[in-house]
């Protein structure tokens, strides 16, 4: 049985936001998030009961991210200061703008591949279906993206040494 749409929002809101941030950067992610759930709300009654709701949302999010990028007609990665307030939870990396900047610098396919693989938990086959190309190519893009990201974002221990 399909859940009320509010449950869909409650369950997938965070993943969709992470995906939007990874594809667009923090600043434009809100627009894409909003457009994604609006489009999803519109189409939800027609979604087959057996559909993977998260994969469906991520597919919409990718499309909306492209729309937002086109509408903005500018570099996908804004460099100005981001409006997000630091979290009080104190978890390292939360709303970490440095990290999103690194993600934004990855080549498009790598950025999308690691987003879908590691934030949306999609299989390489699902990613290949979205990006076009072979499953191997999707796997490679995810692995290369991760490698690049690790190199440029080595994490807390060495963070002070970066830049």
């Amino acid at each position: 049985m399909k859940q009320p749409f509010e449950s869909v929002v409650a369950q997938h809101s965070v993943t969709v936001l992470r995906v939007c941030r990874a594809l667009l950067g923090v600043q434009d992610a809100d627009d894409a998030w909003s457009e994604t759930f609006l489009a999803a709300l519109r189409a939800y009654p027609d979604l087959p009961e057996t559909a993977n709701v998260e994969a469906w949302l991520v597919t919409i999010a990718r499309r909306k991210a492209i729309d937002v990028q086109r509408a903005a007609k500018r570099d996908p990665l804004p460099v100005e200061t981001l409006p997000e307030a630091p979290t009080s939870i104190g978890v390292p990396g939360t709303d970490d703008t440095d990290l999103w900047e690194f993600v934004g610098r990855l080549p498009g396919k790598q950025r999308q591949a690691i987003t879908f693989r590691y934030l949306a938990g999609m299989s390489h086959a699902e990613i290949a279906a979205i990006l076009g190309g072979t499953v191997d190519a999707a796997r490679r893009a995810a692995a290369d993206g991760l490698k690049t990201l690790r190199k440029h974002y080595p994490g807390a221990n060495t963070k002070g040494a970066v830049q």
Binding site: S13, V14, F37, I114, L146, N157
Partner: protein, 204 residues
């Protein structure tokens, strides 16, 4: 996935999102979905002397008031099945209902003045539910009297069912219908809730 476990970069990517950010995005969705006419059912929950109440409204009016013991998640699933899947927590549409309930529980209101959507009930049940608001504040009727008043004196049991399945308790006052001997009878919100409402109305 052991190759990426505890990876700092990935941990950071999937770090928690500030709850305020999510609340802000949800509010924006409520606003934009409403503007585009996409919210078939809006709902919210309010606190009351009879526990947390779920209020849900279509564009026609208030369609559901539910007690916590009815299980709000199940009530929403039921609305999704019977009315529309386009259900959103969007309190604004329920502002009037919430305010009038507040006034009622505060003994400042005796009659509800709200648009109602009675489409969850049909036939005789809906007929009874339409009649119930005519039982005035602080008054009571027996199931038999209600059956007589709706022109079907032998339908006592059906009146009981109509009260038990009232989708709009409190607002549509099925709590004012008692057994012929004056005992409370059943209630969708539990007998305690029925007693609280009757006491509240008597004391006013």
């Amino acid at each position: 996935m052991s190759d990426v476990r505890n990876d700092d970069a990935l941990t950071a990517l999937s770090a928690p999102i500030d709850p305020e950010t999510l609340a802000r995005l949800h509010a924006r969705l409520e606003h934009e979905a409403h503007a585009e006419g996409l919210v078939d059912v809006a709902y919210t929950t309010v606190d009351s002397p009879v526990g947390k109440l779920l209020l849900a409204a279509t564009t026609k009016g208030l369609i559901r008031v539910a007690y916590a013991r009815e299980d709000h998640d199940r009530v929403l699933e039921n609305l999704a099945e019977k009315v529309s899947l386009r259900i959103l927590r969007a309190p604004k549409r329920l502002d009037d209902a919430a305010r009038e309930l507040d006034e009622y529980f505060d003994r400042r209101r005796k009659v509800f003045d709200l648009a109602l959507d009675l489409s969850l009930s049909r036939g005789f049940r809906q007929l009874v539910q339409r009649y119930l608001p005519e039982i005035g504040y602080g008054q009571t009727r027996s199931y038999r009297e209600v059956a007589e008043l709706v022109g079907n004196p032998r339908a006592v049991r059906a009146v009981g069912t109509a009260c038990a399945t009232n989708p709009l308790p409190v607002v549509v006052p099925c709590h004012r219908v008692l057994r012929a001997d004056g005992s409370l009878g059943g209630y969708v919100g539990g007998v305690d809730a029925k007693a609280i409402l009757l006491e509240l109305e008597v004391a006013a």
